[in-house]
């Protein structure tokens, strides 16, 4: 039996539902040396902002129970350098590239989108309105329904490519945000970005991260992510890319059952940079054993 793993996100067709999450594959070149990216659904580049960002002071990372906190602070090379040095490399990688944009104003989102729109290699934009680790922008937008609507509609004017809005779990009504994205012409949402968390040293009584708080990722957040994906899928008809704590193919199946059309894997890439391959193999076996010919049939098949 030939299994079809391909899925569609808006106009974007992926050869399988596995996407490498922003911030966990650099700009592609860093992993291309040991991964054949053509075998993976898509990669999402590290958030790009208009100007380069140095990021937060160290310590930037701390491990917590079955998870990790990061406060990288959107360190990135900035739009100009990305266009000059990273895009030519991405063009050689034979990969589906989704470009993630972060900004501190609506104008900045639009400016970045416009500047990147002409590049054939960029198949879709993922708009980060939910980074918890920067003072300005980021989460301020992610918690503001009107702002998310405005960002979506203005970016819609700037590009015909697939627009994915990456939603924050750090609010209580994620479905409302997904609704607004759909209304304003967004093609899909990805859920979830990291959850705000912190950790303290009990002897010095100081926060372990210099930024005090960070974004929690990894298996610790999977139940939250699943609930958010389910919440969206039960109330809004929009493609969802599910993520948060995926470690293996079983987690992927679970995300698809609650409503995800595709998934992203993040933290697991740090532990097992070959996880995407193993997950794809696992999905093929699962489909075979359960007589699923097109994996897209799995999306939203929850029995509640």
């Amino acid at each position: 039996m030939e299994i079809d793993l391909s899925v569609n996100i808006g106009k974007l067709k992926l050869c399988n539902p596995i996407v490498l999450a922003s911030g966990t594959v650099g700009y592609g070149e860093e992993v291309a040396n040991f991964l054949d990216l053509s075998k993976i659904g898509a990669i999402i580049t590290k958030s790009i902002s208009l100007k380069p960002r140095r990021g937060n002071s160290p310590q930037r990372i701390v491990e917590t129970s079955s998870g990790m906190l990061n406060a990288i602070g959107l360190a990135n090379v900035g739009l100009d350098e990305f266009v000059k040095t990273k895009i030519p490399i991405l063009e050689k990688l034979n990969s589906n590239v989704i470009c993630n944009i972060a900004a501190s104003s609506i104008e900045e989102y639009v400016e970045c989108t416009k500047a990147l729109n002409e590049f054939e290699i960029i198949k879709a934009f993922e708009i980060n309105v939910s980074c918890p680790n920067v003072k300005e922008g980021g989460l301020i937008f992610g918690n503001d329904l009107t702002a998310v609507g405005k960002i979506t509609s203005e970016i819609r004017v700037a590009t015909n490519k697939t627009i994915i809005i990456k939603l924050s779990p750090n609010n209580s009504n994620i479905a409302e945000f997904a609704k607004v994205v759909k209304q304003e012409g967004g093609d899909a949402v990805s859920a979830i970005n990291t959850l705000i968390g912190t950790a303290f040293d009990i002897y010095t009584k100081k926060p372990i991260l210099k930024n005090i708080t960070g974004g929690l990722s990894g298996p610790a957040i999977k139940p939250v992510a699943l609930a958010k994906v389910l919440e969206i899928s039960r109330s809004v008809d929009i493609p969802i890319i599910g993520l948060g704590g995926i470690m293996n193919w079983k987690d992927v199946v679970e995300f698809m059952i609650v409503g995800a059309s595709a998934v992203q894997i993040g933290t697991v890439n740090f532990i097992n940079p070959f996880a995407a391959y193993e997950i794809i193999d696992g999905l093929i076996k699962y489909c075979k054993n359960n007589s699923i010919i097109n994996i897209s049939q799995l999306t939203g098949t929850y029995q509640i």
Binding site: G23, T24, V25, G26, E30, V31, N33, F34, R54, G55, P58, Q59, R60, I61, V62, E63, S65, S66, G67, M68, N70, I72, A75, G218, P219, M247, T267, N269, F270, I271, N272, P273, F274
Partner: protein, 253 residues
């Protein structure tokens, strides 16, 4: 750049050398054939999600198909590692980072190791041929001293229970070693120790490389967690990918 691989490696031995320091040998033929002194591996100490991240350890030595690590138990991950028995399997990711440069023109290699900072040097020493080597090593007390695989050692202890009372830097400065343009220093240890060494080397215009540690998630340049300030500009360097070995005048501690 070297291609990283994951090798599921059978433990040959995991021996306790002191109250807190262990010597681990595992079968990793591919990594063993590729890894260079000063590089490191990222070790998964459990098959479960806890602890989640791999733990970085310097390559201590290579014996044919075996790679050797010298590690100190400091927390949950290394505690689990210390329980591992011969025959068990560890997932090892490597080789990672850039190692020491020891092909350049020097006559005397000075090794400076603070505590578990001695770990990368046996493999370096094995690879330095036809040169004079002196090792200055410092520990908290006599019971914690580990000089596995080192040559020509001079000792310091914080409490004075063995060798000089003080740090390995105090020891290095106190000995009237001939320091000149034909001397090269290789150092590893806690950041405050390396910081004082870097200042000393700047003053005396000495050739020195230091191996740094930092909290990190991936170990191969993606997560951007392990940054250290660059001396040349306002940018950050990554300990895992640009290091862990740096020229003393490349970084600000």
């Amino acid at each position: 750049m070297n291609k990283i691989i994951i090798e599921n490696s059978i433990i040959e031995s995991n021996d306790k050398l002191t109250e807190s320091i262990y010597l681990l040998k595992v079968h990793s033929p591919i990594i063993a054939s590729k890894i260079k002194p000063g590089q490191f591996c990222n070790v998964k100490v459990s098959d479960t999600d806890y602890p989640l991240l791999r733990r970085p350890f310097s390559i201590c030595d290579v014996e044919n198909h075996l790679i050797v690590f010298l590690y100190q138990v400091v927390g949950v991950g290394t505690e689990i590692l210390a329980q591992k028995m011969e025959g068990e399997v560890l997932s090892i990711l490597g080789p990672l980072g850039n190692g020491f440069n020891f092909d350049d023109d020097f006559e005397t290699a000075i090794i400076i190791g603070g505590g578990i900072g001695v770990a990368p040097f046996p493999f370096l020493i094995r690879n330095i041929t036809n040169k004079k080597i002196v090792s200055y090593i410092g520990f908290r007390n006599k019971n914690e001293i580990v000089d596995y695989g080192l040559t020509n050692c001079k000792y310091a202890t914080d409490d004075g229970s063995f060798g000089l009372k003080g740090t390995c830097i105090d020891l290095f400065k106190s000995e009237n070693t001939i320091l000149n343009s034909k001397t090269k220093i290789f150092a590893c240890g806690p950041n405050p120790m390396l910081k004082s060494l870097i200042e000393y080397c700047s003053d005396k215009n000495l050739n020195c490389e230091v191996s740094l540690e930092s909290a990190m998630a991936c170990g191969f340049g993606i997560c951007q967690g392990c940054v250290v300030e660059s001396k040349e500009d306002d940018e950050y360097k990554l300990v895992c990918k640009d290091g862990p070995v740096f020229k003393f005048n490349e970084i600000k501690l």
